[in-house]
């Protein structure tokens, strides 16, 4: 059991939950503000679904899916272009450096002004957030492709598309995955924040509504769902990374 990696994977979050459970049950924590995890799970499994949990989760997933997909695709495409074309790089880099540090949620009102208060504005803000993280990591990845591979490609007259698809992209893939992993976590952060205001469904909406109606267990249920989604996304991306980079097996 102790040699199984999945045991250790779940051991640390489980430990924290057990500690929390003990603190609430012993009265050390106020159960009104910090309900025991067992009570939250009970609520999550037996009450939340009846209150439209799946509507909220699927609304958030829909926004993350399209926003993340568009942002990552754009980030990889521009990152590779900047990495290979000196002029594009010089022209675009100041814009990236300028726009990247602006908190994406700070421009949500502006985005809503342009794209309306519907789905599109939430998808766009997730896309923008993912875009910069993937772009910066992709650019770093393209730069990290060793000079010798450029030399080999030049001597053997590798065609441009072959060079990009079969030399640059695989070479940059480890760094791209770093970007993809950062971006999926950030997408969750952004989508929840975007749903706090101007949404009628979503995990963020669920949490905010629950807070306003002092439905604390429902609020925790929403938070748990985010955590579980984050864990699931990370594991899925790790699995995908191992599949797509078989030459890096350890």
């Amino acid at each position: 059991m102790f040699k199984n990696r999945y045991f250790w994977l779940f051991a640390s979050p489980l430990g924290i939950l057990l500690l929390w459970e003990a603190c609430t049950r012993s009265g050390f924590l106020d159960a009104r503000f910090f309900p025991a995890p067992s009570a939250v799970f009970h609520y999550l499994i037996f009450t939340s679904p009846g209150e439209g949990l799946w509507t909220d989760v699927s609304a958030s997933l829909y926004r993350i899916f399209w926003g993340y997909l568009a942002g990552c695709a754009g980030g990889i495409a521009l990152g590779v272009t900047m990495g290979l074309n000196h002029i594009v790089r010089i022209m675009v880099y100041p814009l990236v450096a300028l726009l990247y540090p602006i908190p994406k949620i700070a421009v949500l009102p502006l985005i809503m002004l342009v794209f309306g208060i519907g789905e599109m504005s939430k998808i766009v803000v997730v896309a923008i957030g993912s875009f910069f993280l993937v772009l910066i990591n992709t650019l770093h990845g393209v730069d990290s492709v060793a000079k010798i591979y450029h030399d080999v490609a030049q001597v053997y007259r590798i065609k441009k598309t072959s060079f990009v698809l079969r030399v640059i992209l695989p070479g940059a893939l480890p760094a791209i995955f770093t970007g993809l992993k950062l971006a999926i976590g950030y997408s969750l952060v952004i989508v929840v924040a975007a749903e706090f205001s101007g949404a009628d469904a979503g995990i963020g909406y669920l949490i905010w509504q629950s807070w306003e109606t002092f439905s604390i267990k429902a609020m925790y249920a929403g938070i748990f769902v985010i955590g579980v989604l984050g864990l699931f996304f990370s594991l899925a991306l790790n699995l995908l990374e191992r599949r797509l980079t078989p030459w890096r097996d350890k």
Partner: protein
């Protein structure tokens, strides 16, 4: 002549500082010849090879590379110090990828060519391995296989065995000579190892350093096929080695004098 070099010079300029890589080189390389460029480190021999490969351009002078059977510009293949295999491709795909991009290979059975050359370097059992799963010697064998498989007019090798241990190097010398004799390609081989040059070459160009110039071109009159253990017992072999050693030693003299003066 496959390669003609006339008054070829290269100077690197970096922030007002000029470094001469090589200067006023004149020599010719014959078709099908095994030509070694021998010199101390920093004599510009790698730079010269990269110029022939088209990876660098000379500052002045003329370089002509002729195709074997037409008047066109000749094609080159290159083996680098480090293998330069793509880590994300298996042995098979590392060879195949270059063939797919080679216009000479259109309408050819690429799989057959790949198999032939994997066989030729004795790596049939490792065709579907990634480079990191193979030893340094195996990787360099793939690198050699891939360069020959492309059927370039000229093969360029930049100290391909420098990072290998002695035994592996000896084995690969034999393998390289064997493939070269079968495929009859012009081969330009850069090295700083005198015995390596004598064992492999038809002619050895000895370069002097700072700046890199042609010091001498020595014909190696040793019989082929060559076998290392037998060859090294021959007085002719030892004489060739001694002759080259004397030439290269002169190259190191100026540094000694400089050192003495500074004390």
């Amino acid at each position: 002549m496959q390669i003609s070099v006339a008054q070829l010079s290269k100077t690197f300029s970096r922030k007002k500082q000029q470094t001469v890589a090589y200067k006023n080189l004149n020599f010719q390389i014959r078709q099908g010849e095994f030509f070694c460029i021998l010199g101390p480190s920093g004599c510009g021999k790698t730079s010269l090879l990269r110029t022939i490969a088209g990876l660098e351009t000379a500052t002045s002078g003329e370089l002509s590379i002729r195709s074997t059977d037409s008047l066109k510009q000749g094609t080159v293949g290159m083996v680098f110090q480090e293998h330069g295999l793509f880590p994300w491709m298996t042995t098979r795909n590392n060879i195949r990828f270059l063939l797919e991009n080679n216009v000479q290979m259109i309408n050819r059975d690429l799989d057959a060519i790949v198999n032939e050359f994997i066989d030729l370097v004795g790596l049939k059992a490792f065709a579907d391995y990634f480079p990191h799963q193979l030893s340094g010697g195996m990787r360099q064998r793939i690198s050699i296989a891939r360069s020959f498989a492309n059927e370039p007019d000229i093969l360029l090798m930049d100290e391909p065995f420098v990072f290998l241990d002695y035994q592996t190097r000896c084995a690969l010398h034999g393998l390289l000579l064997d493939i070269w004799q079968r495929k009859k390609k012009t081969l330009v081989f850069v090295t700083h190892d005198i015995e390596e040059a004598v064992f492999l070459a038809d002619r050895v160009l000895v370069m002097s350093a700072h700046p890199g110039t042609v010091k001498n071109i020595i014909e190696i009159k040793l019989p082929r096929p060559r076998e290392f253990l037998a060859l090294r017992k021959l007085p002719a072999y030892q004489n060739q080695v001694s002759e080259l050693m004397a030439l290269l030693r002169e190259e190191c003299e100026p540094f000694r004098h400089k050192d003495k003066q500074s004390f």
